[in-house]
Subunit: 299 residues, 2 copies
Amino acid sequence: MADAHDPAPSAPHKPADGDTPLAMIIGGGSIPVAVADAVTRRGRRVVLFPVRGWADPAAVGTFKHYWLRLAQAGFFRRHARAEGCRDVVFVGTALRPPLHTLRIDWLTLRLLPRIVRAYRGGDDHLISGIARIFEDHGFRVVAPHEVAPEILMPAGPIGSRMPSERDRADIAHALALLEATGPFDMGQAAVVAGGHVLAVEATEGTDAMLARIAEMRARGRIAVPAGTGVLVKAPKPQQDRRFDLPAIGPRTVEEAARAGLAGIAVVAGGSVVAEPAAVAAAADKAKIFVVGIPARAKP
Amino acid sequence: MADAHDPAPSAPHKPADGDTPLAMIIGGGSIPVAVADAVTRRGRRVVLFPVRGWADPAAVGTFKHYWLRLAQAGFFRRHARAEGCRDVVFVGTALRPPLHTLRIDWLTLRLLPRIVRAYRGGDDHLISGIARIFEDHGFRVVAPHEVAPEILMPAGPIGSRMPSERDRADIAHALALLEATGPFDMGQAAVVAGGHVLAVEATEGTDAMLARIAEMRARGRIAVPAGTGVLVKAPKPQQDRRFDLPAIGPRTVEEAARAGLAGIAVVAGGSVVAEPAAVAAAADKAKIFVVGIPARAKP
């Protein structure tokens, strides 16, 4: 299992079960394939369970995979066991589907009371409830960055630009805001410009929030000039870090540039960056900064 | 000045200067005219200064008025003094204009350093900075509900519906969230459904936030069924209550219904309701509740 050309000295946890293939239940975005590539490079086999409607069919083609419908717990358990998987990773963006759209298999039906209880809370509650169900069925739920630590955002800049003093004040303001909203189990992102909170993410997603700023700017609703303001993403203080860490990729950079921001700051070690080289290139092209920051601006 | 058919026992403050006409600098929405009507009914003359681009021309026609451009402080001071006004009210929705669009008169030019300093902070900072400038020029800045207490939201329901137990839990969750975001001088509204934060208002305004929920619902992005969720509006804990109290009107009710919510809750005595009878009618027609609540769900 040792990987000669990538010693990964920063790998914090060695999976206990590194000899078995890794089951990956994957949603949308480019993070899942980045994780699958990284795990494969480390010499471990992956078996993907892309979720229909969320995962990109073009992205999963080169890996062994079984398309999964939500609420098909029995299908997953059968195939994952047959493949010899014991560890399972959840990764990628998920949409919270209306309950009535689910096609429920027999195992899911038996689990339904537990799932419905979990469904009533916020995202964290739902996800950790579902993780416990997997664990009760003999799977070990691991974090993407446990099996592929290279996906974590490093400290410092990606690309050549750095935040100005004014940008750093906006970053500190946004971090304090995200700390205050953390207990409410909502979004993990905010945009602050010149000390003014332009947007806070709840359920709409980061891309939709950035599109809203671009649209307000086009309509003259934003007083600060273009090239001002920072998108800040941070994990929730109490969140189970096996799931849903804040993530950025090249597309985030493009959307931030379109919203007229000066840059992006994400918590180093607590966020995921898809395709860091492409992020750096996009940031330099758009003339914005992308920086990994400590979880608190001022310790 | 006494008003025989409206003794207004709840009027908390009697304007010291009730014998002079009231200058009203007015923005958008239906609140300004509701205030002007109420003040007139109480026997006091009003002189409106509708702001171009914000105020509705159709609404101001029956009152004495002078159209005002932003950054025309000299124009305002000249006409308000000539009319004998000493008290001034700011009321109605305002958009934060890009600085470069302002046409600045001589008095404003002299005041510019102070205005720019105020402009750098959040909304509260800007508004209270401008109020101090008016006061330095001999005007007294009063709250709309000081001169027209009947515009304040009463405690209890408007219309015939009441929040359910689940709605009350959502209201408490949203109030706690707004209390946490209060220090950040941002929006005064949030939508919570089944314990899940669907949206938080920053600069986009309540209507835009509700439109976003309607759109997410149409795209199947919201898991809770229609008829769930509450729009909650509350004043910021530290705000100067002479300005920008949260407000609702018949249009808010229609937008909330379109977003599939169960109802609207606003802080009684700390929010303004335009056209209460029309709000009650719209709420009953849309089958949603509108309720005035204490500032904290649980004291």
